[in-house]
């Protein structure tokens, strides 16, 4: 304990040096700007800045890269809330309620609560990294194919209750997502599936392509197709800052989201998606009136935002302590470290304390900067919703389209996004929610891959899923949840389920 504190003191002395503070600010600033653009995520930014960082000392370059990363994570939520355009998997959840709040003239509070929950989560998860880093790293190593499979199953069960509205349709949407996720080369056999001879499809359809099409494009078409003139955004902007009641309603969801995010963020391969979906699901389950979710519930913004920012912080644990990058961005960070001659691993905390603790302390500094930077911007962003929609929507289409094009510099991604938009619009008209599809889409390939890998590695025996304790726990939770959903509706007959469906 005392050790950690003295290490943290060392870390702050590093992170608060004028030079590192400047790089932290630069990283966070660039990250926020970049994160707002869909497609052009932190990956492109970091890749472009990487050569610059060669010239810096390792600590400064790492601090700047980290700043870009979580800055972008935050920036992505801004467009999700304002124009229903999630740039990252995790912000797809934020879009559900955040965008509804924006339409009701509450973009300000939504953005502010997103910033505040991200901040709280960032600080708390930094403490988690500081105190439990190596422990969490070891936990991540326990995850084999069986554990991942069971975790995915749990995630999918969560997703069924995610959408407001009809359970049967939500499940069907999950299945559609799973099906789309199969497009591309099968990892286990190397066989191309559903690619129809199109080379661009061999790697699967990019997440941004699907998400922007299903959410942003479909939403625009829906708004344009209204017969009677309806305002997309309420003209009556209530308040820019959250009220005391908003803060109170968000506190616990943000804290719970932080816990989930910290845990899931440390798992290599699991991006923040499971964390933010789970956090949303949990809040909806705990809420007194779950029907508010999907119609602008502030908890639905606070919890997933906290979860994804916490996960962004704990992503660094496996990267630094095991040398295993949790995401593509972390792989870059790892590459940058190796080029600087630093070997990540369990001993990095002791062999390079100024690096590890300097980075940890910079998380705190960065999160403070992020808050200071973004709270004043809330008003500016919120005013964006007051721009006449006939100007706003072409702008959204422009950014969505160039963003998708820039992913692979390929027109195919733009075509696919347009296609996803058509599908998204049809689904929306038929009252089918896009969020479960997105989760199925993200988890599907991992679900199949890990199922088949688990069987391959255990001579085709299913016992592995119940004989390994972590896997058993996940499956148990999934089963209980599923039972809790199905049994009451069976007992109470169909009427209630019907009512629930109509509410959506």
């Amino acid at each position: 304990m005392h050790d950690v504190l003295s290490h943290l003191a060392l870390g702050f002395s590093v992170a608060l040096s004028l030079k590192n503070f400047a790089y932290c600010f630069l990283g966070v600033f660039l990250g926020t700007l970049i994160g707002v653009l869909p497609g052009v995520g932190p990956l492109v930014t970091i890749a472009m800045l990487l050569p610059i960082t060669f010239g810096l000392d390792p600590v400064s370059s790492l601090i700047m890269l980290a700043g870009i990363f979580y800055g972008a994570q935050y920036g992505g939520s801004t467009t999700a809330i304002l124009v229903n355009m999630p740039g990252e998997v995790s912000s797809a959840v934020t879009a559900i309620d955040g965008y509804q709040m924006a339409r009701q003239g509450r973009a300000g509070p939504a953005l502010a609560v997103a910033a505040l929950s991200s901040f709280v989560a960032g600080i708390i998860s930094t403490i988690v990294v500081a105190f439990f880093g190596p422990l969490v790293g070891q936990w991540a190593l326990e995850f084999g194919a069986a554990e991942y499979f069971s975790l995915m199953v749990m995630g999918l069960v969560f997703s069924a209750v995610l959408a407001h509205g009809d359970l049967v349709k939500s499940l069907a949407m999950v299945l559609v997502g799973l099906m789309f996720g199969l497009v591309g080369t099968d990892v286990t056999s190397g066989m191309p599936r559903f690619s129809f001879g199109i080379a661009e499809l061999l790697d699967g359809i990019g997440f941004t392509v699907v998400a922007v099409g299903l959410f942003a494009v479909a939403e625009i078409v829906q708004n344009l197709a209204q017969t009677e003139k309806v305002e997309v955004f309420s003209k009556d902007v209530k308040d820019l800052m959250p009220t005391w009641a908003d803060i109170k309603a968000s506190t616990w969801p943000a804290l719970r989201g932080t816990v989930l995010g910290s845990l899931f963020g440390a798992l290599p391969g699991i991006t923040a998606s499971v964390a933010s979906f789970s956090a949303y699901m949990l809040e909806k389950k705990l809420a007194k009136d779950p029907s508010r979710f999907g119609h602008g519930a502030i908890e639905g913004v606070a919890a997933p935002e906290a979860a994804n920012n916490a996960a962004a912080q704990t992503h660094f644990i496996p990267t630094l302590t095991l040398g295993i990058p949790a995401t593509a961005v972390m792989a870059l960070v790892l590459g940058a470290l190796t080029m600087q001659g630093i070997q990540p691993g369990p001993q990095v905390m002791t062999s390079r304390p100024e690096l590890f603790w300097g980075l940890v302390a910079s998380f705190v500094v960065g999160n403070v900067l992020l808050l200071v930077l973004n709270l004043p911007l809330v008003g500016l962003w919120a005013r964006l919703t007051q721009v006449p929609y006939r100007w706003l929507f072409p702008a959204i289409i422009v950014f969505a389209t160039i963003g998708n094009y820039s992913l692979n510099n390929s027109a195919m991604d733009v075509y696919l996004c347009a296609g996803a938009g058509v599908l998204g619009y049809v689904f929306a008209k038929l009252d089918c929610q896009p969020a479960p599809l997105i989760l199925g889409y993200v988890l599907g390939p991992m679900l199949e891959e890990n199922l088949r890998r688990a069987l391959l590695m255990n001579e085709g025996s299913f016992s592995v899923f119940v004989s390994r304790p972590i896997s058993l726990v996940f499956l148990g939770i999934s089963f209980v949840l599923l039972a809790a959903m199905v049994v009451p509706s069976l007992r109470r007959g169909r009427e209630r389920a019907t009512e629930d469906g109509d509410a959506g």
Binding site: L43, V44, I46, A47, M48, L50, P51, F54, A140, L141, E142, F143, G144, A145, T185, V187, T188, S189, G190, M191, P192, G197, A199, E200, L202, D203, P268, G269, L322, G323, I324, P325, A326, A328, V329, A331, L332, L334, G335, T338, M339, Q343, P344, G345, P346, Q347, V348, N408, N409, S410, M412, E449, R453, L456, M457
Partner: protein, 321 residues
Amino acid sequence: MNRRVTLAAVAATLALATVPGLAQAQADYPDKPIRFIVPFPPGGGTDVLSRIVTDKLNSTLGWKVVVENKAGAGGTVGLDAAAKAKPDGYTLVMAQTSNLSIAPSVMSALPYDPVKNFTPIRLVASIPTVIVVSANSPFKTLADLVAAAKANPGKLLFASPGNATVAHLTGTYFQKVAGIKYTHVPYKGTAQALPDVISGRASFFMASIESALAPVKSGQLRALAVTSLKRSPHWPDVPTVAESGYPGFEAITWFGVAAPAGTPEAIVARLDKEIAKVLDAPEVEARLNGKVDVGPAAFAALIKSDAEKWAVVVKENGIKK
């Protein structure tokens, strides 16, 4: 006012961008930006490697070599774009073993011909595959691993970073060379495989030496052998497969700059010379962990010999991509 200035800038850029591409004297090559296609997303190994080279070209020569990431289908999309580009020296591509020597035998409808559509310029890096096991593994040497595989045919789990990767083919090839059999467990990439390898759930793992560097140095993995003919400067004490009783065994992942077929010889020679100079720079050598000296002719020969080697492995084992 401001808008007028910006418009003027647009017009100027427009003028620059549309200068007619008349037959320029090679003496003033390059007189416009060079497009450098990286067939993988930003941030990956290929991208970083490419940017090290292009940055050095730009900083020392004042050229404007612009990286364009055109990812998809394991590099096929980017290579195809390069193959179809004008062979005027203003389009280059970073190609590697899998694109030029493996793809022709594993991909059913490869849109380009690795030999006919490209002019190889210069190899930039040559990276051996490494055989690693968990630090807790009972296997201390390659011989231990081979003996265990002989005793339990098909029981050992061979993790690889993906189907039809150099590592997968190397592992498959080694089965034949050593007369053993094990089960292949493909992952989506090195990062996905590492937890299973470190914890010992997979018996052993083959991957490019770069990706296994960190966990080996930190003591979580043990390197049993490398697949280059000579030992790696990273680990002088790790034996090669060749010296462990399988003479001549060699499997490397190489990366090299290529241009579309038909690029003028003078430009190829110029690029070859400049890239060779870049590779000679001490800081580039340090970044790339060693130097290779393979010019256009030797590069072409390497593409051919590797293609023949891997075609046999692919055919005998029915490997698909």
